[in-house]
């Protein structure tokens, strides 16, 4: 079973995303900010990370840069999932090591399609 870490400061978004991921046969874990996510990755590197951008203390992209410097930090496929929907933010995320980008709002079909694009469903 593939594992997915959902990183978002919104509890509602985490719950919705985790429910969809479970339906898609993922083991879903949650982290409410970048620091908690980094700590979770050091314990067990997930296969995929669904990552919000704007979070307190450490943004999604700051977390992503830190992740890619970790041992096995290149293993997870990272999908930014954010309301930052302009081209400059998308380019910044790609340069920081994001594999795909979901512009909120999202639903099951979009999440499933993006996971399929990166070969995970």
């Amino acid at each position: 079973m593939k594992t997915c870490l959902v990183v978002d400061d919104s509890r509602v978004i985490r719950k919705v995303a985790c429910a969809i991921l479970k339906e898609l046969s993922f083991r879903a874990e949650e982290a409410e900010n970048g620091a908690a996510a980094l700590s979770a990755c050091r314990q067990e590197m997930p296969d995929v990370i669904l990552l919000d951008w704007q979070m307190p203390s450490m943004t999604g992209v700051e977390f992503l840069r830190a992740l890619r410097n970790e041992a096995r930090g290149n293993h997870p496929i990272v999908l930014l999932c954010t309301t930052e929907n302009d081209a400059s933010h998308i380019s910044e995320a790609i340069n920081a090591g994001a594999d795909e980008y979901i512009m909120k709002p999202f639903d099951r079909s979009l999440l499933e399609a993006k996971l399929a694009e990166v070969g995970l469903v």
Binding site: I90, E100, E117
Partner: protein, 279 residues
């Protein structure tokens, strides 16, 4: 809606477009015709269907456009585009190396996602830079869709369907809440409103025809007629790509299925080169 009103709608749709309307599609008819009811100021769908029988051409055209399916996505049915990129295109690049001319027709292009997906793959292959002349024609029966395709603007929802994020950044520019296909790709495609029941005489001979997710709406006779006429404009070594849910009865229709490539058919028996490239 009563049975005779639906039957009249079905007959006009079939006569004008070849599309067969399934009998039990009443909710689909209501959903699709609701905007036409509002636009023309009818009280309800029944009033619209009654008026339709008087042959008001603008109304008939609006109904036809509303009843045709326009759902599409970039790189829809990814395997089709992989077959085009990995099997069809490399073979044609060898076979047309001297003339350096490639003619492609997307027969039912909806809002343009298909021809622009093809344009992206041609751009990846660097054909223009290598001096190739590309004729990429895209047609659809729906004039509004063709106008939209020509403009090349897409919503956030549309660009997230099938389009990898790197392609969005490299092949589109952002314009407020819309995304516009890059000018270079937009200029590669010639759009035109065209009914597949009409004469194909204006079309050039083509090397590749995409005719996906449209044949399935036709009855057998119309399918055969369209396929027959595609055969007339398709080069002897040309390729036809249909949708994954659409199967041709192979050589009975004058087309030969490619090995291990569902939806890909050739006008003549595949040459060894193609099988070699197909691996």
């Amino acid at each position: 809606m009563n049975v005779s009103e639906i039957a009249y709608l079905a007959s006009i749709l079939h006569r004008r477009t070849g599309i067969v309307l399934a009998e039990k599609k009443t909710s689909m008819i209501e959903t699709r015709l609701a905007p036409v009811v509002r636009r023309f100021g009818f009280r309800d769908i029944c009033s619209l269907l009654k008026e339709l029988q008087y042959g008001h051409e603008a109304l008939i055209q609006a109904v036809i456009e509303a009843m045709t399916t326009n759902d599409s996505a970039f790189f829809r049915d990814r395997r089709t585009f992989e077959e085009f990129r990995d099997i069809v295109l490399p073979a044609l690049m060898v076979e047309r190396a001297e003339s350096k001319q490639l003619r492609i027709w997307c027969a039912a292009c909806a809002a343009g996602q298909e021809p622009y997906s093809v344009a992206m793959l041609l751009d990846d292959a660097g054909l223009i830079e290598q001096g190739w002349t590309i004729t990429l024609i895209a047609t659809d029966i729906n004039s509004h869709m063709v106008a939209r395709a020509e403009e090349g603007f897409y919503t956030q929802f549309e660009v997230q369907r099938g389009l990898p994020i790197r392609r969005l950044v490299s092949h589109f520019t952002q314009d407020d809440d819309k995304w516009r296909i890059a000018e270079k790709l937009r200029r590669m495609v010639s759009f035109r409103t065209f009914n597949l029941l009409d004469s194909f005489g204006w079309l050039p001979d083509c090397d590749v025809v995409f005719c996906r997710n449209v044949l399935m709406y036709f009855d057998h006779k119309t399918r055969l007629s369209v396929l027959d006429r595609i055969g007339e404009i398709l080069a002897p070594d040309g390729a036809l790509l249909v949708g994954p849910a659409e199967t041709l009865v192979g050589s009975e229709l004058g087309y030969f299925p490619a090995e291990s490539a569902p939806g890909l058919f050739y006008r003549s028996r595949p040459a060894p080169l193609r099988r070699l490239l197909a691996g």
